[in-house]
């Protein structure tokens, strides 16, 4: 039985109550500035209201709205990325991570703690949020598209006008930074019980 009955859609107020929070969290994770996230939520609900007839009820209302929101977010990312060099990251310097001979400056070591066990832990995700917030904007955006939305690399390149090589560089930096941040916090060996 589908709890998200399309009848809810006839009442915009109820829509805001039912979905605005979740849409906002989704948008804020990806856009990071609250004004941008609010705008994206508003645009999404407005577009949904105008396209209500297209809602076929074969997915939940939430899924349908998230689908619209995802497009609005990609549009925003694309517009902002036109104005900047696509992989511009003044803070990234290979020499901060690897010696001249390519060896790690700070060698990855075994984690204290099991990632599987962390996945249900709210405190763990608070730590992830902090590490994610430290990523440069473009890296965070492509990482979210890749691993939260599970978009293919080809799709992301097409949507954002990136070359595959640029995308791979961005994802490599994002992963390297997230790993370093989590290794030094949640998964630091001294935290192991």
């Amino acid at each position: 039985m589908n709890m998200d009955s399309p009848t809810v859609a006839s009442d915009p107020d109820a829509w805001v109550d039912a979905h605005a929070e979740a849409l906002f969290r989704y948008a804020l994770t990806r856009l990071r500035r609250r004004e941008d996230a609010e705008d994206a939520v508003q645009e999404t609900l407005l577009a949904a209201l105008q396209a209500k007839r297209d809602f076929r009820g074969d997915s939940s209302e939430r899924t349908w709205l998230i689908g619209i929101l995802r497009h609005k977010i990609v549009d925003r990312i694309r517009v902002t990325s036109r104005c900047e060099a696509s992989i511009d990251d003044p803070d990234w310097n290979d020499a901060d991570w690897w010696e001249g001979n390519g060896h790690w400056r700070n060698m990855p070591t075994a984690w204290g703690g099991d990632p599987q066990a962390a996945s249900d832990n709210g405190e763990f995700w608070q730590q992830v949020r902090k590490c994610f917030a430290e990523l440069p904007e473009r890296q965070a955006q492509v990482f979210a598209l890749r691993n939260l939305d599970e978009r293919s690399a080809e799709d992301i390149c097409q949507d954002l006008g990136l070359t595959p090589t640029n995308l791979w560089v961005l994802l490599h930096r994002a992963r390297t930074r997230l790993r370093e941040c989590l290794a030094g916090s949640w998964f630091a060996p001294e935290r192991t019980p």
Binding site: E21, R34, W168
Partner: protein, 87 residues
């Protein structure tokens, strides 16, 4: 050692392997490197685990991270107003 066997290059390949199929040559280079380098073995294992954690979270109905701020009442009211106008 040639550049392809540096940890820097190995970490790039390990990350790229999450996004596109590597060539046979790349797979072999990465395999040889990680067989000799415990730091890169950890790196590979951990970035794969991080990707998987995000995917698992999104698939289980949380396609977002916890947020530091919520949509406040004023913002909700703005959106409601706008929807009433523009329906």
């Amino acid at each position: 050692m040639s550049a392809i066997f540096s940890c820097n290059a190995a970490s790039r390949l390990a990350s790229e392997a999450q996004d596109h199929p590597l060539s046979l040559r790349q797979r072999i280079a990465l395999r040889i490197h990680t067989s000799m380098c415990s730091a890169c073995r950890q790196y590979v294992k951990q970035i794969v685990a991080i990707d998987r954690l995000f995917r698992t979270r999104a698939r289980s109905g949380n396609p977002d991270l916890p947020t530091s701020s919520n949509l406040d009442a004023a913002a909700k009211e703005r959106i409601r107003k706008r929807l009433r106008q523009g329906g």
